[in-house]
């Protein structure tokens, strides 16, 4: 079973390799976890693979270092349910951590995995079987990039009843560098008709979520939260999951909210991702409906009364025609 954790990042094509297991002359790295002394978990760590970075190297600014982790997991036939963490670090600073959950019901083994990072956001997938190949990239931590000698290392831990046969780290795993830093989110919010509203009016809230950076932001939740006694959202849902927000794929949406109550209610508009979570709060002032006749309340009632009267009158006319 071969599964990419997510679609390979398009940015990866623009990355320049710095070090990989293949460049270090390694075909693969095999990790077989062993029980910790007190038996609470199993653990294995690879050798340290050294590489050098030039003077003045640092993470960020014009150059961003990216960790690439490509590995295969083989779960033991007698595994129970549990969790497996596979990570890649440089200089003992972790830059990629993929977590797998093993579920076992009778003889069926279910593997699900998730990751958290600045390239793919949060991603979760699953498969039925004992083997899976996963690929991931992440913007490295600051302390994992330094001039001079560095070392690359891989680690696996199994918790609960999880039992592993082995983990294989493939030779394309390593570090690349790129001019593209992590994506971020900008939020722009406007609302019509204005800050002063009356009960019964419709408030149109427009949100624009953009990513000014070259690298897209993935796994974004965008939307609004509001007091349900103060507003009714006419075009739900209030939240939406966006696979990606990028320069070429900004997100724009208009929310229509009917104003229900007098006061100073708040509406929070925002976006949530690993990369950024911008928010804006709108606090309109709501007064009672227009003085005098309240069309929004009485128009439907008047319509119902008139319609019913017309139907009854029509029937009477027809009844008169028959008699």
């Amino acid at each position: 079973m071969v599964c990419a954790l997510v679609a390979p990042a398009t940015a990866a094509a623009r990355d320049h390799p710095v070090v990989s297991l293949a460049r270090l002359g390694l075909q693969k790295v095999v990790l077989v976890p062993h029980k910790a002394p007190d038996g609470r978990f199993s653990f294995a760590q690879s050798n340290r693979f050294t590489f050098s970075l030039p003077r003045g190297t640092r993470q960020g600014g014009n150059t961003w270092y990216v960790m690439h982790l490509h590995f295969g997991v083989e779960v033991a036939p007698d595994t129970g349910s549990g969790v497996v963490d596979v990570s890649a670090s440089s200089d003992s600073r972790s830059s990629d951590l993929v977590e797998l959950r093993i579920g076992r019901v009778a003889n069926v083994i279910h593997l699900s995995w998730n990751k958290v990072g600045l390239i793919h956001g949060t991603a979760t997938r699953s498969v039925v079987g004992r083997r899976v190949k996963l690929e991931d990239q992440n913007i490295m931590v600051l302390a994992g990039v330094r001039p001079g000698e560095n070392y690359l290392q891989y680690q696996v831990e199994a918790f609960g009843q999880a039992r592993l046969t082995r983990i294989v780290v493939y030779p394309d795993s390593g570090i690349s560098k790129s001019s593209q830093g992590p994506g971020t989110l900008r939020l722009h919010v406007s609302a019509k008709p204005g800050p002063r509203l009356r009960v019964g009016q419709i408030l149109h809230v427009t949100m624009n979520v953009t990513d000014p950076q070259a690298r897209p932001v993935r796994a974004v939740t965008a939307g609004l939260s509001y007091d349900r006694k103060a507003f009714r959202l006419l075009n739900p849902p209030p939240l939406i999951q966006l696979p990606v927000v990028s320069r070429s794929h900004p997100y724009r949406r208009i929310f229509d909210l009917r104003v229900l109550a007098v006061g100073k209610p708040t509406i929070e508009v925002g976006a949530q991702s690993v990369n950024a979570s911008p928010e804006a709060t709108i606090t309109p002032t709501v007064r009672a409906g227009p003085a005098g006749f309240q069309w929004n309340l009485w128009t439907p009632l008047a319509g119902v009364a008139l319609g019913a009267a017309l139907i009854i009158a029509g029937r009477r006319i027809r009844t008169g025609a028959r008699s």
Binding site: S89, Q155, G307, A321
Partner: protein
């Protein structure tokens, strides 16, 4: 000359049907007007000032600075009143690069109007995940899923959204209620099993306290002492994979409290978190 004896009746039937149809049409219109989606025109007015949101720089954003710093949340926070916060501390948003979380957890449910439970006083960082911390710290805090050990609390981690809450994972020394000895209890939080930032790596946050004669009229709290005790445990528990623990070696989270027992809720915190390095 042709004679149509039923012409008058026919006209009345046609008229009757027409009136009925008109009534149905009016009813339909009334239903459409009442249905969601109908918009009164409203008077055109200037658009509300459009805020452009710039990500907040790292730091602490107290709620009392409402509307000033990016990342602050409007609205009064009444539950701060039950916390004898001191030294300028109080409920605040901690903005850590692009992540954010509250510096206290909440009781009863994912709602900011609920009472505060305990101050955040622990950061497990570098290569931490909820599962890993629970497993490694399980050497000293093995009760994690049973009875009072698993009593959940709640962390609000996303500034903007009422939806961005996470329920605690628990680690406790002992299940025994009414124990005459103090019982260490730590709750840890992170969405999707861990946060990530380029300066802390993969991290989870925690609140720590003792339970003394729990459910038997005792008290809960003394977070500062509990934080130190859990860190001493962490020095041993995290060492197998090369980890370490530095008591009060973490960031200032502006959640210091007076040492005060308020109805069994024993506040005690210096406002500086412990850093636990997890490999």
């Amino acid at each position: 000359m042709l004679h149509y004896p039923h012409a008058s009746s026919l006209r009345r039937r046609v008229l009757g049907r027409t009136v009925t149809l008109l009534g149905v049409a009016v009813l339909t219109c009334a239903a459409l007007v009442a249905a969601p989606g109908w918009a009164d025109s409203g008077s055109p007015a200037p658009t509300i000032d459009p805020p452009t949101i710039v990500p907040a720089p790292p730091g602490v954003y107290p709620d009392k600075a409402q509307g000033q710093g990016q990342g602050s949340k409007s609205g009064p926070i009444t539950n701060v009143e039950i916390c004898p916060c001191e030294g300028g501390g109080g409920l605040a948003w901690i903005v850590q690069q692009k992540n954010s979380f509250r510096n206290f957890d909440f009781q009863n449910g994912p709602n900011e109007s609920n009472p505060l439970d305990w101050p955040v006083d622990f950061i497990y960082l570098n290569n931490a995940s909820i599962s890993k911390v629970q497993s490694q710290m399980g050497m000293f805090l093995p009760c994690q899923t049973t009875g009072v050990c698993a009593a959940p609390m709640y962390m609000h981690y996303g500034i903007w959204s009422s939806y961005a809450w996470v329920t605690s994972a628990n680690m406790k020394q002992s299940l025994s209620a009414c124990t005459p000895a103090a019982d260490l209890h730590q709750r840890i939080y992170a969405p999707s099993g861990r946060f990530y930032s380029t300066n802390w790596g993969y991290y989870v946050i925690g609140t720590t306290h003792y339970d003394y004669q729990e459910l038997c009229g005792g008290w809960s709290g003394k977070s500062e002492q509990a934080e130190k005790a859990v860190c001493q445990d962490g020095v041993v528990a995290l060492a197998y994979t090369g980890g370490a623990c530095y008591y009060n070696g973490g960031p200032v989270l502006a959640n210091g409290t007076a040492t005060q027992n308020i109805n069994g809720h024993y506040w005690m915190n210096d406002g500086t978190a412990t850093e636990a390095l997890v490999n």
